[in-house]
Amino acid sequence: MSKMIVPLGPQHPALEEPESFTLMLEGERVAAATVALGYNHRGMEKAAESRTYVQNIYLLERICGICSHSHSTCYVQTVEALAGAEVPKRAQYIRALIGELERIHSHLLWLGIAGHEIGFMTLFMYAWKDREIVMDILEMLTGNRINYGMNMLGGVRRDITPEQGQKVLEALDALEERTEYYKNVILQEQTVAIRTLGVGRLSREDGLRLGATGPVLRAAGVVKDIRKDDPTEVYNELDFKVATDEHADVYGRTVVRVTELMESYHMIRQILRQIPDGPLSVKVPNRIPAGEAAARYEAPRGEDFHYTRSNGTDKPERVKVRAPTLANLAAITHMIDGGFLADVPIVIAAIDPCFSCTDRMVRVKDASSGRDDVWNWDKLRQYSIEWHKKRGQDLGYRI
């Protein structure tokens, strides 16, 4: 059997950080996979050294369009720890509210993408339509659909009114009803189960060994969530369960994310019930005393990590960021190994990398004959859907 080498990427807009996979195929199975990264390195850590602590909030919020609030919260927590600032309770609750709304929009976005990758376009359209409910709420509260600009050093920049709180509750009712429906679809729809059960397996041991994080790890039965393990601000005042699953595959990752949606609704109701009156911020000086601080935050994709070293001036000596996708990349080559080429799109999508709208290229090269063929992501996805359709797994997608 001839071996084929399939380079996937590097321009790979499905991913938060564009990356390049090289897949060695034996027939339809992936015999070996390697990953190369760094194509979207923007030098933000270096840039942060020449900006003030306040400017850096806005710089670091733009690391990721989807979990922007996670990054800015994680960063301001390090600076507040260095300055010894005690953030008022009301501000902490507002941060948690935006954080959970962000998780909802991120997970609904992912559910749609997962539907798209397996040819289940109805799920894609439903999930993204419903995501607009939470996007409208975020816009109402912050003025923006993404990059909310809510955080400042020492608190938050905007308050929420009781009327806004009421609108959030109404939106939650609608979202909860829809999420129940998705849960039923995932648990009862045979074809979804066939396309995802046993696909992209990552055992508990391998997940821990390779440093995986977030829903990828929780889907392998590991109870690990920064909101529980290292609770900052108000998370230890909220009652919630860590969503886990024992399937350790794409199916398990889907179940975990849908369960997390339900937990987030539950948490937001508590936040709106418990939020106290009071100031929104405390003053944090421009010059931060010399020291160092690290913070972790459970972003929708897993553990987000920030470290800040200060030197007594108004600019940091060093800012270090580790986004969750990087932690999951060591595990992804392991998940692709031994699987079908047709399952690669959903396995990559299942770690929930970020998505943009540009096309991506896949160069298919026959290693024995040197025959060269260029596929784009659509063609690979099409191949994947057709391949499964021939085996009777049809989710109704028609070209």
Binding site: G38, Y39, E45, L208, G211, A294, Y307, R322
Partner: protein, 145 residues
């Protein structure tokens, strides 16, 4: 902060060369500098005895009078240990890879090689990260000079 202090005391008992009086401790967070020679054994000890099985990331920084490496490791109970050591600065600095302890460390260590220009002994061959292939040789953005 009983657990945090227990960890520090055990480390100091096992490795007399580690000075814990300079350690900074807050709830679930420890910042500790160790001599370079003691670093790898201390890391192994923390992983094996105290369950610090997860490497969050590695920070490399140019402190002016040398390089500083901070290994951020965490356990299942939410404790984050920031274990640091210092080396000389400039070209030709070599440190050892932590891959035998943390198998997810590849990209974090490659980043040290790419951005700070240190050699990490024990890293498998591979493309540099995160700088592009055509990045000029000998240019390391995270150095302060």
């Amino acid at each position: 902060m009983q657990k945090e202090n227990d960890i520090l005391n055990s480390l100091s008992k096992k490795f007399p060369e580690i000075d814990i009086s300079e350690a900074a401790v807050s709830v679930r967070k420890i910042y500790l500098s160790v001599p370079e020679e003691a670093f790898m054994n201390a890391l192994k000890f923390l992983s094996a005895e105290f369950g610090f099985k997860n490497l969050c990331t590695v920070t490399g920084l140019d402190a002016g009078d040398g390089y500083e490496f901070i290994y951020h490791i965490s356990d299942d109970e939410g404790v984050l240990m920031n274990l640091k050591f210092k080396t000389a600065g400039g070209d030709g600095v070599t440190i050892k890879s932590v891959l035998p302890i943390y198998q997810g460390a590849t990209f974090y260590e490659r980043e040290l090689e790419g951005l700070l220009g240190v050699k990490v002994e024990g890293l498998p061959e591979g493309r540099q990260y995160p700088l592009p292939d055509n990045w000029p040789e000998g240019q390391y953005p995270m150095r302060k000079n």
